[in-house]
């Protein structure tokens, strides 16, 4: 009996829940307060936006919406580690990443407002759109990464996946592809404890979800997903590895879904209130603010000002969303193909005539 391979999964946290630095090493970002402040602002903005989106849904002004409450550090951490020319492959709630990359709040609203134009967003044109079929974005990311490798471009992809999604074959096959082709990419498993009503423990009895990367021999680690510094630093390191041709990394970021799965869900049916209350003690925004304040980088006045700012910007985004032009019926035909086939031309004409008749 000989040992032919050994692996381990490390857990990384730099900022403790009460806002103090932990651990032996301190990553560069921990002392770059300008950057932290700017990222903190994005985190807060994301949260204000989120609350607004939920209230729009509640008042019938938005469709089903997937909240990002509690995920701000992992999302903003990823976004801030990436370069513009990299490609991001989201699932459906990673607005924090996308805001940093230039997607507008009004575009997020458009999407959840039932309007495809939301996915023709202002972020990098090469970024993927929201991806509802779970885990399918991971192989898109692998394909994009392969294109960079083939074209010898110094670019990477980052794709995310939930704890639930980490069970689906597509994610596992993407890890395998990253391993086989040594692709420049980073997988972030956003483990928020729940896949709708199914708790993390029911997805797998493995000690970690990160270890799914071991299947392909990829470096695999856990980070505190409520610790912006840890997410930012580890994703950045992984991107550097990838850009240097050293292949992919799997990062499990442990966070918590503080809200319902979506506005169509009622988590109280399956999740004890105490669990949520407890999780709030570890949430990402508070701890980062504490860190800034403890280092005299942030004040109550600044916080108040920020909240005002956010409210104004979110209001403006809502206005923009609500003033979007009406979608013409032709829209459902006009992007089907570069050139509309004969059959569809007829169906289009029929639909337009019908519209005419009915108006």
């Amino acid at each position: 009996m000989t040992t032919v391979a050994s692996f381990s999964v490390e857990y990384i946290q730099y900022l403790s829940p009460n806002g103090t630095l932990t651990g032996e090493t301190i990553p560069p970002i921990a002392k770059d307060f300008e950057t932290i402040k700017s990222l903190y602002k994005t985190m807060v903005m994301t949260r204000v936006f989120d609350a607004k989106a939920i209230s729009l849904q509640r008042t019938g002004k938005l469709g089903t919406y997937a909240s990002s409450l509690g995920h701000e550090a992992v999302h903003v951490g990823i976004g801030s580690a990436m370069k513009y020319e990299d490609v991001f492959a989201p699932a459906y709630r990673e607005y924090g990443v996308q805001f940093i990359r230039g997607v507008k709040m009004s575009e997020v609203l458009l999407y959840w407002g039932g309007d495809e134009r939301g996915s023709n967003f202002s972020g990098p044109p090469h970024d993927f759109a929201w991806c509802v079929p779970i885990a399918t974005q991971n192989t898109h990311a692998a394909g994009a990464a392969l294109s960079f490798k083939l074209r010898k471009q110094p670019r990477c992809t980052v794709s995310v996946i939930g704890d639930g999604g980490s069970s689906k074959g597509d994610f596992l096959e993407a890890i395998n592809a990253a391993s086989a082709f040594k692709l420049p990419m980073v997988f972030v498993i956003i483990n928020n404890g729940w896949a709708i009503s199914v708790p993390r423990e029911k997805q797998s009895s493995g000690e970690t979800l990160a270890q799914k990367g071991i299947a392909g021999g990829l470096p695999s680690l856990q980070v505190d997903g409520n610790d912006l510094l840890a997410v930012h630093h580890e994703v950045k390191k992984a991107l550097e590895r990838a850009r240097n041709g050293e292949g992919a990394t799997v990062i499990e970021a442990i966070t918590y879904r503080l809200g319902d799965h979506t506005t169509a869900d009622d988590a109280s049916r399956y999740r004890p209130d105490e669990e949520v209350e407890n999780a709030k003690r570890f949430e990402p925004v508070l701890r980062l603010r504490q860190y800034l304040m403890d280092n005299n980088q942030w004040s109550v006045q600044q916080e108040n000002k920020l909240m005002e700012d956010c409210a104004i910007k979110v209001e403006a985004a809502v206005k923009e969303y609500q003033s979007a032009s009406k979608l013409p019926v032709s829209d459902m035909f006009d992007y089907m193909f570069a050139e509309l086939p004969h059959d569809l031309q007829e169906q289009r004409a029929f639909a337009l005539a019908l519209e005419e008749e009915n108006s």
């Binding site: 469709g63 959840w112 079929p133 829209d331 169906q347």
Partner: protein, 326 residues
């Protein structure tokens, strides 16, 4: 014996079978404590335990494969695909295994399974939650595809599907999950598969439909009655295999046929019905067959969803065109 909605009738049938057949198990994402995203399995895990109503990891190919595995060993699994738009990872298992196990082994292993999935548009759901792809399964030899259109038919047909010794895809038009309530007696009486339901008798034209479009079709029939056009309304119910005889019989009487479906038109269940009329009922037809169907486009997000869905107005327009021909 209270009046219940269709989704409650689904629950009732599931509950009945869980109670009366120990081989029945339910599995899927969120079917347990949460009771399913549409409450179709509401209360069942609580009542029958988590060994009978099983939350699975998020992996549809795995759910389908395990369902096949369970069925071959004599269980009667009822799996849920959370939405029909997420059933694609199940295709390989459904087409290559569930549909083929009996034939492959000359009856040694069978697949008495049901896969349930809510489907169709009209409830302002996000992307991939509103498609109608019954035709893909209807094209697949070896499986039955059943679509209820009322609480009582949901109850009776689901019982029949679970008891059927072969695989059944049971597609539930979610737009009408809570549309009407009906008295459903929980007597365990099944309704026959492979048969159309004649919902309304008529002499002038045959309206053939299934699932959620039964609603619009019946409304159209009401409107036509006011125009003194007597429309026969047929709910196909089992879209594979199709009970063509009932349709042919009706068209023989009426001479005219409009087929109404929510799914895109191209290569669909509606195509099959029209094609069969062209083959076997040509001399019954006093006018061209007409299909009122979804356009051959991606189901739009909900701002344009209504423009995609066939409407009573479109049905009436088609009927009037067909009636004009003499």
């Amino acid at each position: 014996m209270a009046n219940i909605a269709m989704v409650e009738a689904v629950s009732l049938a599931l509950s009945h079978e869980l109670e009366h057949d120990k081989d029945v198990v339910i599995l899927g994402e969120d079917v347990g404590i949460n009771g399913g995203v549409f409450r179709a399995t509401s209360g069942l895990a609580q009542k029958f335990g988590e060994n009978r109503v099983i939350d699975t990891p998020l992996a549809e190919a795995m759910i389908a494969g395990m369902t096949v595995g369970l069925a071959t060993q004599g269980m009667k699994p009822v799996a849920e695909a959370q939405f029909l738009g997420f059933i694609f990872p199940m295709f390989e298992q459904i087409v290559c295994h569930a549909a083929r196990m009996r034939n492959r082994t000359r009856g040694r292993l069978t697949c008495p399974l049901v896969i349930r999935a809510p489907f169709g548009g009209g409830i302002h759901a996000p992307e991939h939650h509103s498609e109608s792809i019954e035709s893909m399964f209807a094209h697949t030899p070896g499986i039955r595809v059943v679509i209820p259109s009322s609480p009582s038919r949901a109850y009776g047909l689901l019982l029949a599907a679970i008891r059927d010794p072969d695989p059944v895809l049971f597609l539930e038009p979610k737009r009408i999950y809570r549309l009407v309530k009906e008295e459903v007696v929980n007597d365990g009486e099944e309704l026959p598969l492979d048969m159309c339901f004649e919902l309304r008798e008529g002499n002038d034209i045959t309206l053939v439909t299934w699932g959620s479009m039964v609603k619009e079709t019946l409304e159209a029939a009401d409107a036509l009655a006011k125009q003194d056009i007597s429309a026969e309304v047929i709910d196909v119910a089992t879209v594979s295999p199709i009970d063509h005889d009932t349709i042919a019989e009706s068209v023989k009487k009426t001479g005219r046929c409009v087929i109404i479906q929510e799914a895109p038109k191209h290569c669909s269940v509606g195509s099959e019905i029209a094609a069969t009329l062209a083959e076997n009922s040509l001399y019954s037809l006093m006018a061209p067959v007409k299909r009122v169907a979804g356009y051959d486009v991606i189901m739009p997000l909900f701002k344009l969803e209504k423009k995609y869905m066939p409407t009573v107005g479109r049905i009436l327009k088609a009927v009037n065109e067909v009636m004009e021909v003499s």
